[in-house]
Amino acid sequence: MEKWPWMTIVVLIGLTARWTVSLNSYSGIGKPPMFGDYEAQRHWQEITFNLPVKQWYFNSSDNNLQYWGLDYPPLTAYHSLLCAYVAEFINPDWIALHTSRGYESQAHKLFMRATVLIADLLTYIPAVVLYCCCLKEISTKKKIANALCILLYPGLILIDYGHFHNIYNSVSLGFALWGILGVSCDWDLLGSLAFCLALNYKQMELYHSLPFFCFLLGKCLKKGLKGKGFGLLLKLACTVLASFLLCWLPFLTEGEQVWQVLRRLFPVDRGLFEDKVANIWCSVNIFLKIKDILSHHIQVAISFCFTFLSLLPACIKLTLQPSPKGFRYTLLTLKIILNVPVCLVLNEIPFMSTWFLLVSTFSMLPLLLKDGLLMPSVVTVMSFFTACATFFPILEKISEEELQLKSFSISVRKYLPWFTFLPRIIQYLYLSSVVSMVLLTLMTVTLDPPKKLPDLFPVLVCFVSCMNFLFFWVYFNIIIIWDSKIGRNGKKIN
């Protein structure tokens, strides 16, 4: 079976899905005075094009930070500038200072959608294609199936092309993916450079930085700190430093600039959670009103500690025994919604990955419904599920071996010899999870919430997703910690 025609076809299918989803409405359409994130992106093009660099992050009469001020690192700003140049060529009205606020037209919508598609095509999609081609020990057919399923992941498509909130996620994820690819294939310098670019594009990538750091540190330690390892450490440090310098160059002239940018990137004044994000805090808040009990700073500190602690076991293991596989699984333990790295293990544990990705898309349900994206969501989720069900054996009975839980089960069975029913438990959990997701979706769409609890459904969605994510966190940590050192027939890159 020839690879390149099929890979092209897969990419074309992915592009078609993305563009057709983008034909729907976006967040904040026709809603003055603030409009939505679409307006934010347009505003950033206006700011970066019309004002000098020094004023981008500062409050001034020309740049009102309350009205969608820039709050992403410099690379996003440069990207907006590039888009602004193109916009100026097509129609200067789109980015005219002050007068273009709230500009909405069919042509402009097309332009914005096109920029997202092109950015996607240049960063994320090549990374996915290359990643699938580099997978070893699987047939061409499976590689292409893998690429198709990853490109059809509904979460990314819906956020970047439908909801239009925080668009260009695919760019930062693409860079991160290049980083993961580089680091797993032993091109450490290129990998870390790519990851630094991702970091400088969206600060959310900080979540991924700890596993990166631990993995690379582990590699250096393995090579011996006295010899090659130290050299590697030095080279990596230089690469990271150089890439940061390059990105932040215009802002390094004054100290105040750097601080202001950092203040914009990490607004510690904001609370712990907004808009019922599916994380632990939202769920705990149902029972224990954290928002009221603790002050902002303590909330932030606690959340940071917990995030750090949740990563700790995996990262420790990663530092001591660096392996590409452990690295990938550590990335999965992070409870962030657009957890694209889960796609990377689709061919290893198709069942769990598909489940996880479905849950992650489900957790965004309230957001998607608010933007009128029910039809695209349902369709993309169904196509993703169909693709996975066709190419991977997720509808069959699963065994411990396939769940990668064999070593864990063996260890448990040393103490509890009757512990053989793990796959069945997991299957029941899967069933109940899917049923609850479908039910909640139906209820949210058809019923009205009771008057006393207007936010009932979003909160329930958040709660169910969170329970699922907790389960996955435990599962992925088990895999990492029980990953045996003895050579397995696992399908890894290296």
């Binding site: 092209t8 074309l12 078609t16 069919q106 598609l117 196509s383 169909t386 066709t390 509808l395 069959e396």
Partner: protein
């Protein structure tokens, strides 16, 4: 878990393909809808609110009912479902009414009727026997044919309801009586299938009414079965009676016929279908321009209305003789005669019939009056069946289908749909070329250099017409130029495919005749 599993080992590939294309169509719901949308809305309104006697007289909207009665009944049935979506669309006076729910209803009705199409494709694929069965699923003719039919680019972007019946009819090739019944029904749904009626009629007559042939394939007159002829005739008459009966009773038959065959419309549609007359028009235009330059023609004598103004009217040619409906009929008949003769003298079973069918459809497309470019799909679909069996047919199919699909581009002319049509066209073209090349890799290459060059030329043509032309000054002076170029370029390709197919059919027929002698 067993409750969730579809069929033990995951989803079968056919279901996956069918589900995939249905989901794609759902995603295409918010895209631009052509005037067909208003046409169908109008027909839903007419059939729902007016009595039968008014159906073919109603003329509030310009899109009058011009399909046979069965289609009108189909719209009537649909209209009862439509009233739950949006009552307003059923008001005859609500011209150009469109609401999101109306759009949803129209698109959903297409998607539902496509379920029948999926079934038909499934049955078609059962008929294909893979002689060279390779282990790889994607190289099996069944798989390739399913994809070529289900994911056909033309069917995706053209809102056609009821090509499904066509596919269903195709699969009754071996079952003659049912086929005759289905074809009669089909004819009364869309009279466009008259194009292929001669082929089907001759095929039935030859293969069914003559129960046996001589060993060398010639006609055995003694085996003529009157019973079969009469039974076929009865079927056709019954179906026609069912369809046209009410209108004959109301003495409305002439009106119905005049609506069905509107010869007042011009030789060509607003956008010239890429057939022989497009080339004829182009040559005429060139000659008139040359003539004016060389002062051979008097500008005052030239007819006013130009064919390139993009309107649907009757007009006349400047230099070459004007074309009348009768002339086109004559040309069409002359064009289909050789293939029908071959079918009569040397019927080669269903394969030979399919070839003749494609030739009839193509000849009618080439020489018909007021042909719409969608009619090319009539030839492309049966050609798909032939393409997975022989390399020569595959080559002709690829030229025909690529050119035919490209000629559909002007139907979707809005900016948001531009990436969609390019992506889907690339998808289908890349798949069809690579899969057929793989299937026939042991034989000689599918294209020679000239054909490759021609097909590759479609890319630059598209870039010029859609991207470069709007930025030039010619856009104001010659707005029709891109359409003209597309039409002429595709007409060359389609004519070439038609000639090649003809040559292959006729030589096949003659070869066996000479062998006999």
């Amino acid at each position: 878990m067993a409750a969730l599993g579809v069929a033990a080992a995951g989803l079968s590939w056919f279901s996956a393909l069918a589900i995939g294309v249905t989901l794609l169509k759902c995603l295409l719901i918010p895209t631009y809808h052509s005037t067909d949308f208003e046409v169908h809305r109008n027909w839903l309104a007419i059939t729902h609110t007016l009595p039968i006697s008014q159906w073919y007289y109603e003329a509030t909207s310009e899109w009058t009912l011009d399909y046979p009665p069965f289609f009108a009944w189909f719209e009537y049935v649909l209209s009862h479902a439509a009233k739950y979506f949006d009552q307003e669309m059923l008001n005859v006076h609500n011209l150009n009414y469109s609401s999101p729910r109306t759009l949803l209803f129209q698109r959903l009705s297409v998607i539902f009727t496509d379920a029948l199409f999926v079934y038909a494709v499934h049955e078609c694929c059962k008929c294909i026997d893979g002689k060279k069965t390779s282990k790889e699923l994607t190289e099996k003719p069944k798989f390739i044919l399913s994809v070529l039919l289900l994911w056909n680019f033309g069917l995706l972007i053209v809102d056609r309801i009821l090509d499904i019946l066509y596919a269903v009819f195709l699969l009754t090739l071996k079952r003659h009586m049912e086929g005759a019944f289905l074809f009669a029904v089909l004819l009364h749904f869309k009279h466009i299938y008259l194009y292929v009626a001669p082929a089907y009629g001759i095929y039935l007559l030859r293969s069914y009414c003559f129960t046996a042939s001589k060993p060398d394939g010639a006609v055995r007159w003694s085996s003529f079965s009157l019973v079969r002829v009469i039974s076929l005739g009865l079927i056709v008459v019954l179906v026609s009676a069912l369809s046209l009966g009410p209108f004959i009773a109301l003495n409305q038959l002439p009106q119905v016929l005049s609506r069905l065959f509107p010869f007042k419309r011009g030789l060509c549609h607003a956008y010239w279908a890429p057939n022989f007359w497009a080339l004829y028009n182009a040559v005429d235009k060139v000659l008139s321009v040359v003539g004016l330059e060389l002062k051979l023609l008097d500008p005052n004598q030239l007819p006013r209305a130009s064919m390139t103004s993009g309107l649907v009217q009757q007009f006349q040619h400047a230099v070459l003789p004007s074309v009348t409906p009768l002339a086109t009929l004559f040309c069409t008949l002359v064009a289909i005669l050789p293939s029908v003769f071959c079918l009569w003298f040397k019927p080669q079973g269903p394969r030979g019939f399919l070839r003749c069918l494609v030739l009839c459809a193509l000849s009618s497309f080439m020489f018909g009056w007021h042909v719409h470019e969608k009619a090319i799909l009539l030839a492309i679909l049966p050609m798909s069946l032939l393409s997975v069996e022989k390399a020569g047919d595959a080559s002709i199919f690829l030229i025909l289908t690529t050119t035919g699909h490209y000629s559909l581009f002007p139907l979707l002319f809005t900016a948001p749909e531009l990436p969609i049509k390019i992506l889907l066209m690339l998808l289908f073209t890349i798949y069809s070329i690579s899969s057929l090349k793989t299937l026939f890799r042991k034989e000689k290459p599918l294209f020679n250099w000239m054909e490759t060059f021609y097909l590759l030329g479609l890319g630059p043509l598209e870039v010029c017409c859609e991207f470069i032309f709007p930025l030039t000054s010619w856009k104001v002076k010659f707005p029709f130029l891109p359409l003209l170029l597309t039409s002429v370029y595709c007409a060359l390709g389609i004519a070439y495919a038609w000639l090649r197919l003809y040559v292959s059919v006729v030589t096949g027929c003659l070869v066996s005749k000479t062998k006999k002698q």
